[in-house]
């Protein structure tokens, strides 16, 4: 009969319509919205009914590998001073596909040798394509991709060029947003250092 297919199809629509209300009942008292636990299930493989996230009141958690705009990692010394991990080797600015990283390197006025730290470090975030290659190929784990994605501003001509001050974040922040990566890199570093120490001892 003509129209059977249509009615079957509308059955699917009704199912979707009803599912949201059934899901509402399931979260009765606890709330389907503005509830961390419910959000996880609503966005997971068991999701049923309306799929929307009530942004900005609700926010999806981002996975560890999420990447958005690089930042520079510095170590905090016990005396409160900072030590940049960056040695201004320039690999990040060489590998950057849209070429949005500018580094200024300077020489020690006394010895004339280059200082292994950047004097200036700029990233034009309007140009940055968030590919993450700089973080991937940095040999010193000094530049990493951030998790902050809310970057709207009123003044793009000045606010969207990040300088070294704006880009720098402590290693503890890095450990917080990427715990697995941090642990892996620290382990690799410790191993390397142990090897070095062992070699020194031998000598």
């Amino acid at each position: 009969m003509y129209g059977i297919g249509l009615i079957k199809g509308l059955g699917v629509t009704i199912k979707h319509f009803v599912e949201t209300y059934v899901d509402d009942l399931r979260w009765l008292g606890r709330g389907r919205y503005y509830n961390e636990e419910a959000l996880k299930i609503r966005q997971g493989t068991e999701a049923r009914g309306v799929f929307t996230v009530q942004y900005p009141e609700e926010k999806l958690s981002v996975p560890e590998e999420f990447r958005y705009i690089p930042f520079l990692v510095y170590e905090e010394n016990p005396d409160g001073t900072r030590k940049d991990r960056c040695t201004s080797c320039g690999i990040c600015s060489k590998v950057c596909p849209p070429q949005c990283i500018w580094i200024v390197r300077s020489n020690d006025p006394e010895t004339g040798r280059p200082i292994p730290a950047p004097t200036e470090f700029y990233i034009d975030i309007d140009i940055c394509m968030n590919c993450g290659l700089c973080a991937e190929y940095c040999p010193f784990d000094a530049i990493k991709m951030d998790h902050v994605y809310e970057l709207a501003s009123y003044e793009r001509s000045s606010a969207h060029i990040y300088n070294k001050e704006r880009l720098s974040k402590p290693a503890s922040y890095y450990a917080e947003i990427r715990p697995k990566n941090y642990a892996r890199e620290e382990a690799a570093r410790a191993e390397k250092e142990a090897l070095k120490a062992a070699k020194k001892k031998k000598d």
Partner: protein
């Protein structure tokens, strides 16, 4: 094709055309150099007598140091097997090559593109106009001696970045309105585009008062511009149609509104830098784009990814196919008037897959995940678990639901069955690829016909339908989602532990001189990357054979005689993405 067979083909050709065909002996190169005068005859003989009925790619390369232009053809058999590469060399200052449109109509847009970007004239082409750039454009940008405004250097990395980087905002260095250059005698105000007139005249004669008279009505031919801004075109794409009443009697696609000269950017970039740029071609399927490019460069480098990386690649490529096809089906229904309800249902599922991409690669759409000889990082254990749940439980259920929801729907059937028919012969001749080709009864799937990566290990069927209409293109996509899920189920079960990268991934990939054509069965069709290296850090030539672009070649044939309202559905059933069409 075995070595023996190749020898046989060349022997026959050499016998038939003595002196006109020679082996390409350059280091790292493959294929045959053909004399231009004999090209059409050789192509005819290849097509009719030797089964090379599918012209995959036509492109040009500017060999500036040798003062030569080279046109490269990649021919295939629809029965399967590797490519036969033909090349023609012609002087740079007067590059003329015979057109192959009469033998392979699928060469139409590709030859126009080569004319537009490289300035190679194709003698005998019926409508040789610029295709991606505007008619006022000065020069042919892919020529090696052409330089863009604000030219900085032949290749990246630019010296200005380090060690004395001087930060400059791009808007200060490239002020708006000053970023084009044209010849000194040219005034933009006093100029009328000639191409528009040529475009309208290419539609054929416009008749007044003696159109379709068979119902006693006297109708005029009218020209209607659909787009560039039109909701049915999925982006900025324009169709100029001539109508007789409601019936289409002529159609010309106009594109290039999103053109950014991806290939020139690619030649400025280093090999690795191109990887994130390929994401932006078909921005719905960045994983497949990565795959094609990685294959091409790996062929040149001679590296092979480890087992686990191969599995991860296949898993990602097949998930991408699912994402693309449900998206295409949703949009097709949008085009048919089912405004956004089916679309939103499929977006739910797409969202879950994008979550996986985000966990694996760090980005939902611009994945930038593949590296030469592997992938960027290992797949997290919990992401693999989520994929297992999705492909074993949720997605099959949802695909069945989509099937129940749409396939039997009488309105869909009335709008789609028998509309936009493309016959098997037309599909092959026009170099259609992917679901468009397979819905016309050609069971050609590169994963089977010319297997790459580890596709030969999986058990799956090539989806094929035989009517070649909008409905069959829809059904082929549905079938393909099911087949992809089949591959995924096998892959997630058998994925081995191990390394994910052969050697250490280098930021400055060492690519030996030579050429390579890497192609994958992307969700939209055959996605090919033709890469030429001269041993330097930047590719000498980087060409993308974009399925969304070439699949538009048969659009006119599909739409002839159809109603104007159907052309929207026909375009929706081809499934184009303008990021890839316009490059």
């Amino acid at each position: 094709m075995t070595e023996k067979e190749t020898v046989q083909i060349t022997d026959t050709l050499e016998e038939q055309f003595p002196g006109a065909i020679t082996r390409d002996e350059r280091q790292g190169y493959d294929g045959y150099i053909v004399e231009a005068a004999k090209l059409v005859e050789i192509a005819k003989s290849l097509r009719d007598d030797m089964g090379y009925d599918y012209l995959s790619s036509v492109t040009g390369v500017d060999y500036l140091p040798d003062d030569k232009m080279e046109v490269v053809y990649h021919l295939y058999r629809s029965a399967g097997g590797p490519a036969l590469t033909l090349k023609i060399q012609t002087p740079r200052d007067d590059s003329v090559v015979p057109s192959l449109v009469s033998i392979y109509p699928g060469a139409d847009f590709q030859e126009r593109e080569a004319w537009d970007l490289l300035g190679i004239r194709f003698e005998g082409h019926p409508d040789l106009r610029r295709i991606l750039l505007w008619d006022g454009f000065h020069g042919h940008p892919l020529r090696k001696d052409w330089q863009e405004p604000f030219f900085e250097a032949e290749g990246k990395p630019f010296k200005s970045r380090w060690p004395q980087g001087e930060i400059q905002r791009v808007e200060d260095t490239h002020p708006f309105g000053k970023n084009v250059h044209y010849p000194s005698e040219f005034t933009p105000e006093g100029w009328t585009p000639e191409g528009e007139a040529a475009l309208y005249s290419s539609l054929g004669k416009i008749e007044h008062g003696n159109g379709n008279n068979n119902k006693g009505f006297e109708t005029d031919h009218i020209v209607v511009n659909l787009g560039p801004q039109h909701p049915s075109t999925h982006g900025v794409f324009r169709m100029v149609v001539t109508l007789d009443g409601e019936e289409i009697v002529g159609l010309k696609p106009v594109m290039g509104y999103l053109h950014r000269n991806h290939e020139k950017i690619g030649e400025r970039n280093t090999f690795l830098m191109n990887m994130p740029f390929t994401d932006r071609l078909d921005y719905l399927c960045s994983m497949s784009n990565n795959f094609g490019y990685a294959l091409a460069v790996e062929k040149l480098m001679g590296v092979k990814p480890p087992e686990r990386a191969e599995y991860i690649r296949v898993i990602m490529a097949e998930l991408t196919r699912v994402v693309n096809h449900i998206w295409a089906i949703g949009f097709l229904l949008n085009d048919l008037g089912a405004f956004f309800t089916p679309m939103l249902y499929v977006i739910n599922e797409r969202e879950l897959i994008l979550d996986i991409f985000e966990a694996v690669s760090g980005s939902r759409m611009m994945c930038n995940y593949f590296r030469f000889g592997g992938v960027a990082r290992d797949i997290p254990e919990d992401a693999l678990e989520t994929i297992k749940i999705l492909v074993n439980e949720r997605l099959p259920r949802k695909v069945d639901e989509l099937d129940l929801y749409l396939t039997g729907n009488e309105i869909v059937q009335t709008r789609a069955i028998g509309v936009g028919v493309l016959t098997k012969q037309q599909a092959l001749a026009n170099s259609a690829a992917g679901p468009v080709l397979r819905a016309s009864g050609v069971p050609y799937d590169i994963r089977r016909a010319d297997p790459y990566s580890i596709y030969d290990r999986f058990d799956f069927d090539v989806a094929v339908r035989y009517n070649g209409d909008v409905y069959d293109r829809y059904l082929v996509r549905l079938d393909e989602i099911r087949q992809s899920l089949r591959i995924l189920k096998q892959a997630v079960e058998t994925i081995p532990e191990g390394e994910i990268q052969t050697g250490k991934s280098q930021y400055q990939a060492r690519v030996p001189a030579g050429e390579a054509y890497g192609r994958v069965e992307a969700p939209k069709g055959e996605l090919g990357f033709y890469v030429v290296s001269n041993g330097k850090p930047n590719p000498w030539r980087y060409h993308v054979r974009a399925p969304s672009f070439i699949n538009l070649t048969p659009l006119e044939e599909m739409s002839m005689g159809q109603k104007i309202a159907d052309v929207v559905a026909i375009l929706g059933s081809i499934d184009i993405v303008l990021g890839e069409t316009d490059r």
